[in-house]
Symmetry: C2
Subunit: 168 residues, 2 copies
């Protein structure tokens, strides 16, 4: 029960939870890629997370209240992970991280289109996306606008354009 923190600074406390190389990658995949199962997160990750690291991080995110775990009714040994409101509140942070990375780091076109849209859309778009995430992960009423669909469509459009330019 007793947890000791390095300090009560909000930046520090946030880093104590999210300050590693994998936690935000997992939340990103759940949020933008709608990966909800262990195997999806394991095998469809661009970055290639190891299964023991994934298991460890899921456990930590559960403890910290960023995700929840439920049994999948369609499959006895499948588990479904969902984002909590706390994690959904990270959308603006992802938007800024993406904007900063896009400006300063060697990003690839297809993986940064979503960051571009998120940056251009601003707080209004973030709010719409968060409302949709609350519908997907928390069972809230589904809003009319699907930012998730817009982001996915833009991503697939870039992929299609790239394939047309240089076919496999």
């Amino acid at each position: 029960m007793k947890e000791d923190h390095r300090s009560g600074c909000p930046i520090n406390l946030t880093l104590e939870i999210l300050g590693d190389r994998w936690s935000l990658i997992i939340i990103r995949d759940m949020m933008f890629g709608n990966r909800r199962h262990f195997r999806e997160l394991l095998t469809q990750s661009e970055e290639g997370i190891a299964s023991n690291i994934l298991a460890d991080r899921l456990k930590r995110l559960l403890e910290k209240g960023l995700i929840t775990r439920a049994d999948d009714p369609s499959h006895k040994q499948k588990a479904v992970y969902s984002l909590t409101d706390m994690a959904i509140g990270l959308v603006p942070l992802f938007a800024h991280m993406g904007a900063w990375g896009r400006r300063h780091l060697p990003v690839s076109e297809e993986l940064s289109i979503r960051a571009e849209l998120l940056e251009e859309g601003g707080p209004a778009l973030w709010e719409a996306f968060m409302a949709e995430l609350r519908a997907i992960h928390l069972g809230a009423p589904r809003p009319a606008r699907s930012v998730f669909g817009e982001l996915r469509a833009a991503y697939e459009a870039v992929l299609a354009r790239q394939q047309a330019r240089q076919p496999a």
Copy 2:
């Protein structure tokens, strides 16, 4: 020269640079506490960083272009560290991290007052702060408004109020 990245995703690339427990703490102290020397960062850190970790992180941040190092003309073996424009661009990210931490984590009053002001001030305040940081760290002309002073004054006001309530 050759560096291989896990992926070209802007979130991932940002995490590869800043995704650890200390890098952002150091930038925070330089940015909000104006710590410019090794000893200042080592001894005045709330969280108590070890000297070897600090030396390692400063080297990495130098390599990645987030800070610069210069000799202090007043003292032959003093070094002055400065933020680059790239690091100053993290101000909105700190604002969101602070806001998120304040909302969801057990922050202390005196260390979160700055996050509160930064959240309330919004993008206009962030821009003013960034202009001032460019003056402090990059030699740009000093703007009329000192957000840095406002933040420090608010912090000290909270400290004074706490001491009045419960004197040492």
